[in-house]
């Protein structure tokens, strides 16, 4: 099972494809505020992550996620529950 750091690195891979060039990504990066992503872009990215980790992320839980670190922790928790 992947640990949080590994999940975070994988998230950064996805986010680099979506974020403006030159943005430095870290755990506190605000997905919408800092990266300027539309919420629909984030939830579409989560579809990719779901299949990578064989989890299902309820949209309801995603609404509380603001930062890359929070998303990594949510994915990590769901991988443990699966």
């Amino acid at each position: 099972m992947a640990n949080i750091d590994e999940i975070l690195e994988r998230l950064f891979d996805h986010l680099r494809e979506l974020a403006p060039p030159g943005v430095v990504l870290d755990e506190e990066t605000d997905l919408i505020g800092t990266l300027g992503l539309e919420s629909i872009t984030v939830i579409n990215m989560v579809l990719e992550i779901e299949d990578e980790y064989d989890i299902s992320v309820p949209l309801n839980e995603l609404s509380d996620v603001r930062t890359a670190g929070e998303l990594a922790r949510l994915v990590h928790r769901l991988t443990k529950e699966t």
Partner: protein
């Protein structure tokens, strides 16, 4: 953040996007001098209306108009009350009986809007602990219904049965308390759900299935009952929801089902209880339109002739369109500004369509979305094609 700041930010964003105030705003343009199902005045231009969802073109049908006028004289302008109180007239009960008969279902419920039909049905069917499994491209009313229900909302990739299967597989025993929700025709690109495959998965995993036939009622199936009829899977669809505001030319929504529990939704659905019932005149015109839908299949034939004509011509000109011929025909653009400029020039060329921008669109594309009507004449469809061709060459 101050309470009104998000709205002020929205205002700044709108001003930035729309440019000068004297330019036409596509998201609130006054439509005047509506002369028929397909002609009106928009921003001072006489236009062919090609963005109305008026698939059968019944908004000016003499029988529908006469039925509405008669109901106004008979029952007044509104019910002023909920279906739970003083708002259940014979009009509503007759329409429900006619819908149940049309779909060959045990019963039907009428809601005051298509939006409310989704809110009301989803909210009554799933709750905290249950799962709403929705196609990623479902309409906002489905998303909103799921959010209000408190159920876990899971999305699968648009029209991708493999993506649905993987998610159902992960649910284990929770599949029994899962409602899958898809649409007959998706409103943005006009594509149909792969319903046979979805039904097979629904049966294998023991879920329930709801199909929103908002854009496919009167459009698909030999009898006009929608995608479930066309695919031959009506018996396996637990709940069919839809609207009166498209093919039926009115306003309101409905759900039909063979489940006896549908009748109990009347006592469990806040969207049914806490709003006034539809005005009798609207219900009367809807009943007349449903009768026409059932008895004049030539309207469906004409609709598809027009759809094929427009889709094939726009593709020939070189526009990037949805994946299949449909009465919903959307030309796709990279940038919202490009689509906005195109939309404004279309109005100047005498054609009104819908402009739809991200995030309301699939894959972040900007769409200039046409909807074809059975009421369009061949000359009107040609005029739409000519406007698109002229703008391609500008």
């Amino acid at each position: 953040m101050p309470l009104l700041e998000p709205l002020r930010a929205l205002s700044r964003e709108r001003q930035r996007f729309l440019g000068r105030e004297d330019q036409t705003d596509p998201f609130g343009v006054p439509v005047g001098a509506v002369r028929s199902a397909t002609e009106a005045q928009v921003d001072g231009h006489s236009v062919v209306m090609a963005g109305t969802n008026n698939y059968l073109g019944l908004t000016f049908d003499p029988d529908c108009v006469a039925a509405a006028k008669e109901a106004l004289d008979d029952a007044g302008t509104g019910t002023t009350g909920s279906r739970m109180a003083n708002g259940s007239y014979a009009y509503h009960l007759d329409l429900e009986a006619e819908l149940a008969d049309f779909f060959g279902r045990r019963s039907a419920i009428v809601f005051s809007a298509g939006y409310l039909a989704n809110l009301g049905m989803i909210g009554a069917l799933v709750r905290k602990g249950d799962v709403a499994m929705i196609d990623a491209d479902c309409h906002a009313s489905i998303y909103d219904g799921c959010a209000l229900s408190g159920a876990d909302i899971l999305r699968f990739r648009h029209s991708d049965p493999d993506s649905l299967e993987r998610r159902l597989d992960r649910l284990g025993e929770r599949a029994a308390s899962t409602l899958i929700i898809v649409e007959g025709i998706y409103s943005m690109l006009g594509d149909r759900a792969p319903l046979a495959e979805i039904v097979a998965l629904k049966k294998r995993y023991g879920c329930y299935l709801m199909v929103d036939e908002a854009h496919s009622l009167g459009v698909l199936g030999e009898g006009g009952r929608g995608l479930a009829e066309e695919v031959g899977v009506e018996e396996d669809v637990d709940f069919i929801v839809g609207t009166f505001s498209k093919s039926l030319g009115g306003a309101g929504g409905f759900c039909v089902s063979d489940h006896a529990e549908l009748e109990l939704v009347r006592f469990a659905s806040r969207a049914y209880i806490f709003t006034a019932s539809p005005p009798p005149s609207v219900v009367a015109s809807t009943r007349a339109a449903l009768h026409i839908l059932r008895t004049r299949p030539e309207l469906r034939t004409r609709l598809w002739e027009n759809a094929r004509h427009l889709y094939c011509r726009l593709r020939e000109i070189g526009y990037e369109l949805g994946p299949e011929v449909s009465p919903v025909i959307a030309a796709s653009f990279d940038a919202p500004e490009e689509a906005l400029s195109f939309w404004r020039r279309l109005v100047e060329h005498g054609v009104y369509v819908n402009l739809v921008l991200p995030p309301a669109t699939p894959d972040g594309r900007s769409l200039v979305r046409c909807s074809v009507s059975a009421a369009h004449t061949t000359e009107q469809v040609d005029r739409i094609c000519e406007a698109f061709a002229a703008l391609r060459n500008e």
